[in-house]
């Protein structure tokens, strides 16, 4: 019996392993090609997975051709700012909707939920024109101000805070603590998991944010990395295989690094978010 199990396990692991390798082939190919000096303009045929002539020329060229460091910095800053704002406001609103008692609570929450059903694209044009009238186009304000109302985050936060027992709050309130005090001292420390989840979602969303920065930001100096990479794609030099792959790899590195360090939390958050629906 045991032997059968070992064989079937081995078979399963092999099958999964082969599938995994096939799935990861594009990544390996891209990385190895980007370090190959002979791939400047021609796609090697038959395909190679090990560079024929190892060199970092493609990367040097990529770093020169597009201001990728600038894009990194821009995206990092924007991610940091937006994550702080979005997660913080999600938590405050989540707390208010969960534990608060005030008039029109139900309606206000409905207004928040309704936003989730309105696709962003519906308000794209008027929002664009509005920012133009305020002279805020080609600055970062349009990319930041939206973070104050993250409907999905509010929803998740509220759901989580619901599960915190009221007794904790009430005893503090009895002692004369104000709501903000309770929020910072008692509620937030207990919200580790949901804060982690929200942070991870925000970071990934911000890094992949494309349409809105594309519309709102025109000067390359202020652009984020996803749009910056796409702009490179359209330029003359994008015909060259090597630099293009180098650029792709460079664009993907930061999130990969985050992933490698925080894999456990990320995977956990994803699985949690699915079940809690």
């Amino acid at each position: 019996m045991k032997k059968k199990k070992i064989i079937s396990q081995a078979a399963m692991i092999t099958a999964l392993g082969v599938t995994l390798v096939v799935v990861l082939i594009p990544i390996c190919w891209a990385i190895s090609m980007s370090f190959d000096a002979t791939t400047i303009d021609v796609v090697p045929n038959p395909p190679r997975f090990i560079p024929k002539e190892f060199s970092v020329f493609n990367y040097k060229y990529a770093l020169e051709a597009i201001p990728i460091i600038r894009y990194y910095i821009n995206t990092l800053l924007l991610t940091l700012i937006n994550t702080c704002i979005a997660v913080f406001t999600a938590m405050t609103c989540g707390y208010a909707f969960s534990k608060g008692r005030f008039p029109l609570k139900g309606i206000l929450f409905l207004l928040v939920l309704a936003v989730m059903m309105i696709p962003f694209e519906v308000r794209l044009i008027p929002l664009f024109l509005q920012y133009r009238d305020w002279n805020l186009l080609d600055t970062w304000w349009p990319l930041i101000l939206g973070s104050f109302a993250w409907a999905y985050g509010i929803f998740l936060a509220r759901q989580f805070i619901d599960s915190i027992p009221d007794s904790l709050r009430e005893s503090a309130s009895m002692d004369g603590a104000g709501e903000w005090h309770i929020f910072f001292r008692i509620i937030l420390p207990l919200c580790g998991p949901v804060i982690a989840t929200l942070v991870i979602f925000q970071v990934v969303n911000q890094w992949n944010n494309f349409l809105w920065p594309l519309v709102v930001v025109s000067s390359p100096r202020k652009q984020v990395i996803s749009v910056g990479l796409a702009m490179f794609n359209a330029s003359e030099t994008a015909r060259y295989l090597g630099p293009r792959l180098a650029v792709s790899v460079l664009g993907a590195i930061p999130l990969m690094v985050v992933y490698l360090f925080l894999q456990k939390y990320i995977v956990q958050s994803v699985m949690l978010s699915g079940v809690k629906e």
């Binding site: 800053l77 704002i85 100096r221 030099t237 060259y240």
Partner: protein, 474 residues
Amino acid sequence: MRKHIKATLALSLAAALLLGGCGSGSAPAESGQDNEPAAVTTAADEAARGETASSDEKIVLRIVGPMESESDTTNPITKKTLRGYYVIKELYEAEHPNVELELTGIPWDSWQAKLTTAAAGNQVDIVVHGASLVDVVEDLTPYVEKDGDFLDELLLKYSYRRADKSNYTQLVPTGIPISAAATTLLYDKKIFDDYGVEYPDETWTWEDVLEAAQKMTGTDPVTGEETYGYYIDGSSSDWIGRSLTGYYFSKGTTIMEYADVQMETKVNYTSPEALEGFEFVNELAKTCPKGFLEGRGAENFGTESNNIAMWYTQDMVNIYYKTESLGLTDRYGYGYSPVLETTDGWANFTGDWNMAIAKNANHKEECWEFIKWMATNQDIADWCWEIGKIPNNREAIERLTAEGIPFADMFLNTLAATPDEFTIFASDYMDSFLGSSNAFLANGLSAMFAGDMTPEEAAESIQEAFEEQAASYQ
């Protein structure tokens, strides 16, 4: 925890204000490469200096539009360093100390809408490539009447475009071209020799091109390699469309029927003559390499291992640099575009890199001075040549092509045969700015090339797209 949050928020907001909020500021030189300060030659515009304001206050000109790179780049094939557009600022400010230039290059994506919005909102003085944004740029006729002598030094006089949407049959000069472009029929002499085909000359028609392309598609008798007769860059909607429009140009087929109101302009892609074009291009596409619909297949053009015989393109300077760096300048020829059969000249898509003055600009006089300077300054001409553009300046071209550049004669003759008020973008067979015309042509033609549609179906689908667009603009 509260302290941390507050501190982080404060810092973040401060950072955002610093970096994001301030929109202006000069471009930081990106790479560590040291650029040679350009020698300030005495340009031929001493007169210009007399007109600029004499006060101490600096005049700021905001120049916005699609431009090449801001900082230096290196071409990976030729290994040449190409200076960024900061040279414009350096050169001009050195000669005009009381003027400050703010240059912002924007990407090509949706450039018309973005530039129109910016120019309408009083944020731009000089619009690069602005000639086609007729709604928001100045008509240059009064400027030229007052001060148009310098135009004699230029090859192309103005960038003409159709007037605004309620006056569409009238052409107005809205821009001055800084660089001129012309199409050429690039050809690989070696492939021609291998197959025993005669080189193209200035009398070739499109049929001659097709015949030669068909002969040279197959297996090369000398090398045994597979070769293709022609190349169309399928990744660019412009060039897919031009394969068809070039044919109409030569034959003199009338496609456009202009009306006073832009969107009442009619097109006729289903006439027998128009259909001829579709069938012709379909045959031509069969002589192209497999990857052409994805914009690939021509990476080796200009090198030893090229396998494409002919390519109708505008990119002569860059191809020349490429062949020069590989020592192959003798192998590649720069033929004339196919001849115009109903009049003199060649089917040349005279494009240009032009500059226009925004209607809401401040200091319009200074803008005009700047544009004049750009078009006539010899150092700028050198920079254009360096980055692969041909300057629109007779003196510069004569100087730069003195050492026998193979395409010099063809280029000058082609442009000389182009009438002064001609503009390809507003002609009888093409108007790239009529809504999504480029997209419609590209859609229909790529479906036909991929074999999903017959020429008749493609023509009908394009006709339908135009008619729907016109209807939607009631």
